[in-house]
């Protein structure tokens, strides 16, 4: 008997793999069901017993979403907000994380300690005053109001600092001796070495912004500016009965982040583990 066939007959191996298949079904079934229902005719999913596959697949739900419900606009809104937030927050967090790790300056450790202490404060505590502040600044109901508060994050700074500590000082010192300014060292020496953490940070920022709900819900009162999650939540309150339409909306919202995750999952998971190993 070969090792492989022996392994296949081992009842424990069978149980382990069976349990994994069950868990994967639990994780994927809702997403597959969403995809299937999004291609059903209007009303088809609301029959008994509930059908698993569309009898006559149709794109009508997607057409209706984009032609009548303005899904294209919300998609672009989400894309603009998430892109702006990703570019800005990556730059600011990487600059700060690098400085906290590698540049010596007065008050550095105290500032970093203060940031770490603030990490325990949940964001909701700041929401009411932040709303009033943005209202004063005329930023309520603008994308700037959504993006600005997210342009730097304590956790992101911490992540970059952890990573940047492995950059050899000699390398930075050598660049200084060659007469390079701090800004040039940052762009030409440091940034290329931080590439892995930059990608991780960018994936986190983009997914976080794309999926964010509570803050855009509060700041964006004008429907024209809504991001996908906010638009989807209000659509789902209007169209409670139209499960097929709502599933198409869910597909449009979820698919981009799922694809992004599949493409960059190594970086995403690394970030997750960096956050946990202190």
């Amino acid at each position: 008997m070969t090792a492989a066939s022996k392994r296949r007959r081992d009842p424990v191996a069978l149980a382990v793999n069976f349990a994994l298949v069950l868990a994967a079904c639990f994780a994927l079934a809702p997403l597959l069901w969403m995809l299937s229902v999004s291609f059903m005719q209007a009303g088809e999913a609301s029959s008994y017993p509930p059908p698993l596959l569309p009898a006559h697949p149709t794109l009508a739900n997607y057409v209706q979403l984009f032609a009548q419900a303005g899904m294209g606009r919300y998609f672009v809104n989400s894309l603009v907000v998430a892109t702006a937030l990703t570019l800005g927050s990556v730059l600011f967090n990487v600059m700060a994380g690098y400085a906290f790790a590698k540049l010596k300056f007065k008050g550095r450790d105290a500032a970093f300690q203060a940031l770490m202490a603030a990490l325990v404060i949940p964001g909701q505590v700041a929401m009411m005053p932040l709303y009033l502040m943005l209202k004063q600044m005329g930023l309520v109901n603008t994308w700037a109001g959504v993006v600005l508060p997210g342009l730097a994050g304590i956790f992101g700074i911490y992540m970059v600092r952890q990573y940047a500590r492995s950059i050899p000082d000699a390398l930075i010192e050598a660049a200084r001796i060659d007469g390079a300014g701090e800004w040039r060292i940052f762009w030409q020496v440091v940034l290329p070495m931080l590439k892995p953490v930059v990608v991780t940070l960018a994936v986190f920022a983009f997914l976080g912004s794309w999926n964010d709900f509570m803050w855009p819900l509060i700041v964006l009162t004008d429907g024209q500016l809504h991001t996908l999650p906010v638009a989807l939540a209000s659509l789902s309150r209007e169209h409670v009965q139209d499960s097929e339409l709502m599933m198409a909306g869910a597909v449009v919202t979820v698919l981009p982040v799922l694809i992004l995750f599949l493409a960059l999952q190594k970086h995403y998971m690394q970030g997750l583990m960096m956050g946990s190993v202190k």
Binding site: R7, A13, V16, N17, A19, L20, A23, A24, A27, A29, P30, L31, A45, Y48, P49, P50, F92, A96, Y98, A99, F100, L103, K104, A111, L115, A118, I121, P122, V125, A126, M128, P129, L130, Y131, L132, L151, A152, D169, E182, L207, W210, N211, F213, M214, I218, P229, A233, S236, M247, G249, A250, T253, V254, V257, L258, F261, M269, L272, M273, S276
Partner: protein
Amino acid sequence: MKPRNLAGWMFVAPALAVIGLFFILPVAAGLALSFTDFDLYALADLRNLRFAGLDNYVRVLSLPLFWTALLNTLEFVVLGVPLSIGLSLGCAVLLQSPLARFKPFFRTALFAPVVTTLVAVAVIWRYLFHVRYGLINSGLGHIGIGPIDWLGDPHWSMPAIVVFAVWKGFGANMIIFVAALQAIPDELYEAARIDGARRWAQFRHITLPMLGPTLLMVSVLTMAGYFQLFAEPYVMTQGGPLQSTVSVLYLMYEEGFRWWNLGQASAVAFLLFVLMVGVTQAMRRLGRGTEEAASA
């Protein structure tokens, strides 16, 4: 290395400015706001603003809905956190098993719900939980369990939201557990095998103690996250039925941004914050005590 004060501060300035202006300052202002009667009238004209001392806190604490929301949130935390961590740990152990096949596929599949948009998948689960046309009741019907009105029955609404939240989140902790499991030296298991320890004994006496610190950290973070329940009830139940899914944060949102009682909403936010810090600190202390007891 000589200090570079100016350069250093220039690099951290943008980030610190954002965090200071849009986070630290509002947190401090929030504390101040919670001691005022800031409401719709003050929103219209700041001259209507009055210092209210502890009035907001007294009012919130005497509000029956606050206690309902607190109990609902605690139900969500007490049911959800152990379930979520148990499932994460179970799947991590399965994924780490040398007997498991197609590991990259399973890892990605189990993790996929984590990256999905909460609002979108909440919409999906609302239909899955549908009393007549939902797949869950249809599946239960096959094994002879009568239809349950998951989101319409106050007894089932919070458990239903727990099931959804566990589905959405367990993959994140699973990945952290996988990393921690990989860090346990193989020699420990080999020694145990030589001593004749069975699988369960190995898990109980090697895996769990070695995972101790990770388990504690994951529990604290997961619990902090579960206390901030909001979007699930907002999309799936709107706090109903019979206020059975109103969470503390949902109450804060309604008070603050629906009724514009921003002072009172701030008091709710700070009460939640104090509760979270209290519970997570108690857990840390408890966890450290257990570790010391185990090593003593």
